[in-house]
Symmetry: C2
Subunit: 258 residues, 2 copies
């Protein structure tokens, strides 16, 4: 059993928890908690770390995977949560390509430009799976999808919704358009109500930063600016809320008349 915080493996895990750069260098991220642990595709688990109590109560979960036991203190030290459940795992990243998300039968893609809140990103991924999106394209400065808070708020969708970080979002949007996908930007200047377009064929929605919205150089690559009507004195909606309204409107159309 590992009982020292200074142990090399433990130091490695803490770095992977905290640092996006370390995660990228090692193509590895950390998944914590029993619900999320059960969602990990088994072949992507590099190694699990559990407290003795968790291990003894859930021994079947460890069949066929490499694992180590750690003391309660060490687990608390590694954990990203206030009430640790006693299980985490190192998981191999799986990189999708733009073609993976652009060439599904009827693409429905979320394009995320500079979103910063980890919980918002996770909520978009989780809700997006429910609405039937086929993939997510993220600008390189969007919050890291492997941030522990993002992973947790995806509730497992991170393992099922393909996503790609783009080094050149404008260029990748043009690639989507060349494949016949219509690109809609949610924008306060939009003249077109979000319920008007027909989302039955390949469609993509761009959502921007929580306070600044979508960058101008990205907006101009959209085919159509759409707006979500807001009554009362509401000036804006939370980014994940706006994404939800758009994704479920596309889902509604696709379930019905398409």
């Amino acid at each position: 059993m590992i009982t020292k915080n200074g142990n090399t493996e433990i130091k490695n895990i803490v770095n992977l928890m905290k640092k996006s750069k370390t995660r990228q260098e090692k193509s590895t991220f950390v998944v914590e908690g029993i619900k999320m642990f059960c969602e990990i595709p088994r072949d992507r688990i590099i190694k699990a770390y559990a407290t003795e109590k968790f291990y003894e109560e859930n021994i079947k979960l460890f069949e066929g995977i490499e694992y180590a036991l750690v003391s309660d203190n060490v687990f608390s030290y590694m954990s990203d949560t206030k009430t640790p459940q006693g299980i985490l795992a190192l998981v191999r990243m799986k990189k999708a390509k733009l073609s993976d998300i652009a060439e599904s039968e009827k693409p429905l893609i979320m394009i995320i430009d500079e979103l910063q809140d980890p919980g918002n990103l996770g909520t978009v991924i989780r809700t997006g799976e429910g609405a039937g999106i086929t993939g997510v394209l993220l600008s390189k400065n969007t919050v890291d999808i492997y941030n522990p808070k993002t992973i947790r708020s995806t509730m497992g969708s991170i393992f099922r919704v393909p996503f790609v970080y783009s080094n050149d979002l404008a260029k990748d949007i043009d690639i989507l358009k060349n494949k016949g996908i219509k690109v809609y930007a949610s924008h306060l200047d939009g003249k077109c109500n979000y319920t008007e377009p027909d989302y039955c064929s390949g469609s993509a929605f761009i959502i921007g930063n929580e306070s600044k919205g979508i960058r101008n150089e990205i907006v101009k690559h959209a085919d159509t600016l759409i707006k979500i009507p807001m009554k009362g004195q509401v000036e804006s909606l939370n980014a994940a809320i706006a994404a939800t309204i758009l994704m479920y409107e596309a889902g509604r159309q696709r379930d019905g008349s398409c």
Copy 2:
């Protein structure tokens, strides 16, 4: 200038920040930050507290209201945020009655049963104003709407959307039904897709607790159980996300064919 944390007024503010019971006893709550301060109806401000720096930079905001200056240290001590903006205010509660929210022209009501996350509640209020809801009915064990986190996440909608805490939610739901309002419960057992009903006449949606959903004794008072379809392996949606989908579907119908 108030320079001591032990000052009676400061202790009072800290209690109002932290304790729902104190807020109820005094019919007073605390609003923090410049954006939210500007949203407060002026006649409801009891007293404002500002740092000298904030006051000097925003002197016009203090015309006609009672205020006190406090040192930076005292402000940090009172503040609910990590990076305080130097302004907060004591605000008088304004209580709505069930009839206020039930007797608007075409009621669209959110009924909240035991929701626990302050941010979720605030997001429902903010998004609800945008979607055009006419009021909110909350079970008495729902998180306190005057929680500083809830207030912040309403982005000001708390001053514009009428709400009522109910001592007997089942009874109040029956009152709404007797006024001709159709009550829909979002429920995993729902057979009816949420897009099927006609929400053009008086309608209300019940949303439940983040993990337990709506209590059974409340569910049975609904006219219709509706479901939000979820693709992939998604088992549930965040409560504020589910509320958003329902409220904006009602808004979509009301903007179009009603």
